[in-house]
């Protein structure tokens, strides 16, 4: 693997870019691993990377039924923020935002993290009260977030319509300046490259069909399309399909898989300097470095594994965007798609041990997983390596649905994340 630096870039530029070597090999499975990670998205690849880089465990396979980064990692709207209400969530997501700041340097791979700011618009008195409560709670937790007047919102993001006569007038906004976006594919590629360089096998197009267990109930390995692979530990990070994978080990999860749609416009010159979210009208928007507006909203309402979603939701989303940004109402949309998100009842993730010995799960990220990729991967790797949760993910147990100690971000935000 060639390290990226000014010298290697220059050298390859003058030699016609013919000297670059592959970033990671397409591996075939070995008979046995210390850890098998199911799911080669950002969270799974990241966990393998941190296991290798920080815990000295390098005999690892990351197995995916498709291409790496081909699931929700490649399907999200790349928004990164940590302005969550509860202490547990604020710690988890802000840990991630901390890691985002230097992730490109750590991985020697440009993930194009851009802390362009995330502005959440308030349209009703209830919004104003709720967002101000968030601002105060965040600041007490050391998470940056501040209140903007409508005029300040307009100055921060000129395309916003702040007319008092609009259907959903802007009454202010909460701005997290350290938040922003990153290049989603590059996150998967960067972690894959970093993990592979430390000896991790990345096995693509090889579905895990079952988790196999020893007579004492502990994990024995995984059955795959390419045969049985023995493993001391198995870590599942399969987003929309966690229910199916974990069911093969007799672990039931409190998840419902639903399509989350996104769409992009035709590319235009830079016009949109930040990320804007509006919970009341339910849409969010940013502009990619290619110039496309990247637009999303909440999930479709029903359980589905079709990576497609329904048009009524898109219509609703576009109506909201046209209302808040009238300047965009003649823009043409280029394409839309959906990812299958696994949603928990309290809209907080589950990261930790399971009732099965040596089986770990990182699931339930719902509609908000991308932003958490580095933090989630980091604490998941810790949990796998030490067989105990990191203090940050300790509250995010599967057991909380038995004890009732929920982390109810669903009630806190009343919106998809």
């Amino acid at each position: 693997m060639t390290r990226f630096n000014a010298f290697s870039l220059l050298k390859n530029a003058v030699t016609g870019h013919k000297g670059w070597t592959e970033q990671w090999p397409d591996s075939q499975p070995k008979a046995e691993y210390d850890v098998v990670v199911v799911g080669a998205g950002g969270h799974g690849l990241g966990a393998a990377y941190y296991l290798a880089a920080q815990h000295g465990i390098t005999n690892i396979a990351v197995i995916d039924k498709g291409w790496l980064g081909g699931g929700n990692t490649g399907r999200n709207t790349t928004i990164i923020r940590s302005n969550y209400l509860y202490d547990e969530s604020a710690r988890l997501f802000d840990h991630s935002v901390d890691l985002w700041q230097t992730l490109s340097q750590e991985l020697n791979y440009n993930v194009m993290y851009s802390n362009r700011g995330v502005l959440m618009l308030a349209h009703t008195v209830h919004d104003v009260q709720s967002f101000k409560r968030h601002v105060h709670a965040n600041r007490l937790n050391g998470v940056d977030n501040r209140w903007l007047t409508p005029q300040e919102c307009k100055e921060y993001c000129p395309p916003i319509n702040i007319s008092k006569t609009s259907r959903y007038p802007v009454m202010g906004g909460a701005l997290q300046e350290r938040a922003g976006t990153a290049r989603h594919d590059a996150v998967a590629w960067g972690y894959a490259r970093g993990a592979a360089a430390r000896g991790v096998d990345i096995i693509q197009n090889c579905a895990v069909t079952a988790i196999r267990r020893n007579p004492d109930g502990s994990v024995a390995g995984v059955d795959t399309e390419k045969g049985f692979i023995k493993a001391k530990k198995v870590a599942v990070s399969a987003s929309g399909h966690n229910t199916q994978v974990m069911a093969t080990a007799d672990v039931r999860l409190p998840l419902e898989s639903m399509p989350l749609q996104a769409l992009v416009s035709e590319p235009v010159k830079p016009i949109f300097p930040c990320v804007v979210m509006s919970n009341a009208v339910h849409a969010y928007c940013s502009q990619s470095d290619k110039g496309e507006l990247v637009i999303g909203s909440g999930t479709d309402q029903y359980v589905s594994y079709s990576q497609r979603g329904g048009l009524p939701l898109i219509e609703h989303t576009i109506a909201a965007i046209s209302e808040v940004f009238p300047i965009f109402n003649r823009m043409r949309m280029l394409r839309k798609w959906a990812g299958i998100t696994d949603n928990t009842p309290d809209r907080s993730p589950i990261i930790g041990k399971t009732p099965v010995k040596n089986l770990y799960v990182n699931c339930g990220w719902g509609t908000g997983g991308f932003k958490a990729t580095p933090g989630s991967a980091h604490v998941f790797a810790w949990t796998i390596a030490k067989d105990e949760p990191h203090p940050i993910n300790a509250p995010f147990t599967l057991d909380r649905f038995r004890t009732g100690r929920l982390i109810d971000e669903a009630a806190a935000a009343a919106v998809a994340h």
Partner: protein, 100 residues
């Protein structure tokens, strides 16, 4: 756009008239005070999240307002049938035969 048949109105109508109401045939506990935490967890939170033919509830919110049950394939999103609340689970094999 899904088209959904309301078994009460006996009409097939667009999805926007309906709201999804989760997995069907989850019976409320007979004796709540005798339930263990494990049983509550299963009742309240654990779901089959089926990839395939899924028994689920819908509500005809912007119509008659009533809850009913449906069988829908969660891969194709195609409805196999809808039926009134309280009716037993339809026989899946017979339904699939009818689709051919």
């Amino acid at each position: 756009m899904l088209l959904i048949h309301c078994p009460y109105c006996d009409e097939t109508l667009p999805e926007v008239e309906f709201t999804y109401a989760g997995e069907a045939h989850i019976a409320r506990p007979e004796n709540p005070s005798e339930m263990s935490d494990d049983a509550w967890q299963q009742f309240l939170f654990m779901r089959d999240n089926v990839k395939g033919d899924h028994f689920e509830r819908w509500r005809h919110l912007h119509g008659c307002g009533r809850f009913f049950n449906a069988v829908r394939n969660t891969v194709t999103d195609k409805f196999l049938t809808t039926y009134k609340a309280g009716a037993p689970r339809p026989d899946l094999a017979a339904l699939k035969e009818g689709q051919k």
